[in-house]
């Protein structure tokens, strides 16, 4: 994009700055729109599985429901509890929301179409997603209330536990792709399976990792069946109990932006990102723009997220911890051994 601005006769330094700001807006604004629509889709899918109608009043097919909810929340009064720690109480939702947007900087939407093409892209995503826990802990503590605090404790333990196994799973992908750069990881998947399929997920060694990553991403975003942080029968509404108005809306938006990010990571890391699924030009696959493929894959994974939310009952907390530490962690460690051994045999010998 910088070149376009330079060709319009702009100073290169200014062109870079303007292009970066334009890129940020180009990602953040459609993302917010996507979050609004994905909340609607989530409610519709959930309703369809429960044999209900779901939102169908505001706008055609209820499409504008999320905007009506947003407007309602926007017009509400922001209530800050007297015992709350004012500054941190207000900073917490801002952290959650900002962090949810920051990680999108390194997501490749098409070949080379990425805001920050840094060579530690995957580590950047790990670093940013490890910040997400602060919004939750701070909101729970700053509310100065029992249930939000319990919820914050649960959430942080849960997020840290699953970050460990996610880290090990990602090492498997990095070993195969030989790079931390997101764009390179997608490119490494082209013609991965015998030159036919464009995805790591079809590799027999990597498929178990793909499944584990999908489950871990459910846990990392605290979606059902791992939504113990919001278990309404035990914790009222979890860490956001004391929040109202825009502060609550920021949590809400951040949560769904994180869900979308995790769907995108599933698509990019294991299922070929912006590449078409097959490397064979049966129909002109490669003429379809890359972002169409990526968005299709994101929507597919989001459907899985909603489907799981609608059908799977909530885990018990000890089961959640057991799954993270006693099952995913040893298996992903074992898989690192297997993958590096396989690569030493086939690639580096």
């Amino acid at each position: 994009m910088t070149e376009t601005f330079i060709s319009w006769g702009m100073d290169p330094n200014w062109a870079w700055g303007v292009a970066t700001v334009a890129g940020i807006l180009l990602i953040a604004l459609p993302l917010m729109l996507a979050v609004a629509m994905i909340i609607y889709a989530d409610r519709k899918i959930w309703a369809a599985i429960a044999l209900r109608r779901g939102p169908n009043v505001v706008g055609p097919f209820g499409l504008l429901q999320s905007f009506a909810d947003g407007l309602k929340v926007f017009l509400q009064e922001t209530i800050i509890p007297t015992g709350a720690n004012r500054g941190l109480f207000l900073i917490a939702p801002i952290i959650t929301f900002t962090v949810a947007l920051m990680a999108w900087a390194v997501i490749p939407f098409n070949s080379g179409a990425v805001l920050a093409d840094i060579n530690v892209g995957l580590l950047y995503i790990l670093a940013i997603s490890s910040l997400g826990v602060y919004g939750v802990i701070l909101s729970g503590w700053a509310s100065n209330s029992k249930y939000p605090f319990f919820s914050a404790m649960r959430a942080s333990a849960q997020m840290i536990s699953y970050e460990v196994s996610i880290g090990f799973i990602l090492i498997g992908v990095v070993l195969f792709a030989d790079s931390f750069n997101m764009n390179e990881i997608v490119k490494a998947q082209q013609g991965h399976g015998l030159g036919i399929v464009n995805a790591f997920g079809f590799n027999l060694l990597l498929f178990p990792l793909a499944v584990m990553f999908l489950i871990s991403s459910l846990a990392e975003t605290a979606r059902a069946p791992f939504d113990l942080t919001e278990a309404e029968s035990e914790l009222v509404a979890g860490y956001q109990t004391e929040y109202s108005s825009m502060a609550f809306a920021l949590f809400w938006l951040g949560e769904y932006a994180n869900v979308l990010l995790m769907c995108t990571l599933n698509a990019v890391l294991f299922w070929g990102g912006w590449l078409p699924p097959l490397n064979v030009d049966l129909i002109p696959w490669f003429d379809i723009p890359g972002w169409v493929w990526l968005f299709g894959k994101i929507l597919f994974f989001f459907f899985i997220f909603s489907w799981v939310k609608a059908t799977v009952p909530r885990y018990r907390y000890d089961q959640l911890m057991r799954l993270g530490w006693k099952i995913f962690l040893p298996i992903s460690l074992l898989w690192i051994f297997l993958i590096s051994g396989w690569l030493m045999l086939t690639r580096y010998s």
Binding site: N85, A127, I137, W141
Partner: protein, 203 residues
């Protein structure tokens, strides 16, 4: 130009937030300032061209260590008045530590400006166009493999020690037995009965 602005921004933010860590009255605020300091330190690492170290700093210190601090500080509910009561008593010791640190800093600075120690024996990554992840990996797993593994063993011993110290057997604790729960089948737990009217049933 922009790199100088960035450097002074990050550097002054590190010092300012490090000062706030010890000045903040609320320990939770202290930890938050510490996180800000870590962040800006990561920014300085980026400026030095060590993007791998910068990301690890954020992942390890901000993502794990500071969360642990925050946990402890939030749950302990520290009484500040009591902490401050000992200020005068510990002042001489604190001042001594501060003086030693200052002297060491001055000596190090003087030695550094006086001339170089011959560092030809050390192994530095060759300046190439490869990413510093690959360069660090190459050095770490070849030349420094012994130190690397020794560090791993030290960490393992520390971990086992911490587990042994905190793990205790308590009586009367009922834990979940997952394999028993998984083995349970509907026919073991439920029973279909069809009692006659007015007869009731035994449970």
């Amino acid at each position: 130009m922009i790199q100088y602005i960035a450097f002074w921004l990050f550097a002054s933010m590190v010092i300012a937030s490090a000062t706030m860590v010890i000045l903040a009255r609320n320990p939770v605020h202290s930890v938050m300032w510490l996180i800000l300091a870590f962040f800006n330190a990561a920014g300085l690492m980026l400026l030095a061209g060590a993007e791998f170290i910068a990301m690890l700093l954020v992942i390890v210190y901000v993502g794990a260590v500071a969360v642990l601090f925050l946990f402890v500080v939030m749950m302990l509910n520290i009484d500040f008045a009591e902490l401050r009561a000992g200020f005068v008593r510990y002042l001489p010791l604190g001042a001594l530590v501060a003086i030693i640190l200052a002297v060491e800093l001055i000596v190090a600075g003087a030695a550094w400006s006086a001339g170089k120690v011959d560092l030809a024996a050390r192994a530095a990554p060759a300046v190439t166009d490869r990413s510093n992840i690959q360069q660090i990996g190459e050095l770490l797993y070849t030349r420094y493999i012994f130190l690397f593994e020794a560090a791993g063993i030290v960490l393992l011993v520390a971990m086992i020690g911490a587990i042994v110290l905190t793990h205790r057997q308590r009586g009367g604790v009922r834990t979940q037995n997952i394999s028993l729960q998984n083995q349970r089948r509907p026919q073991d737990a439920t029973r279909l009965v069809d009692p006659g009217v007015g007869q009731g049933m035994e449970l």
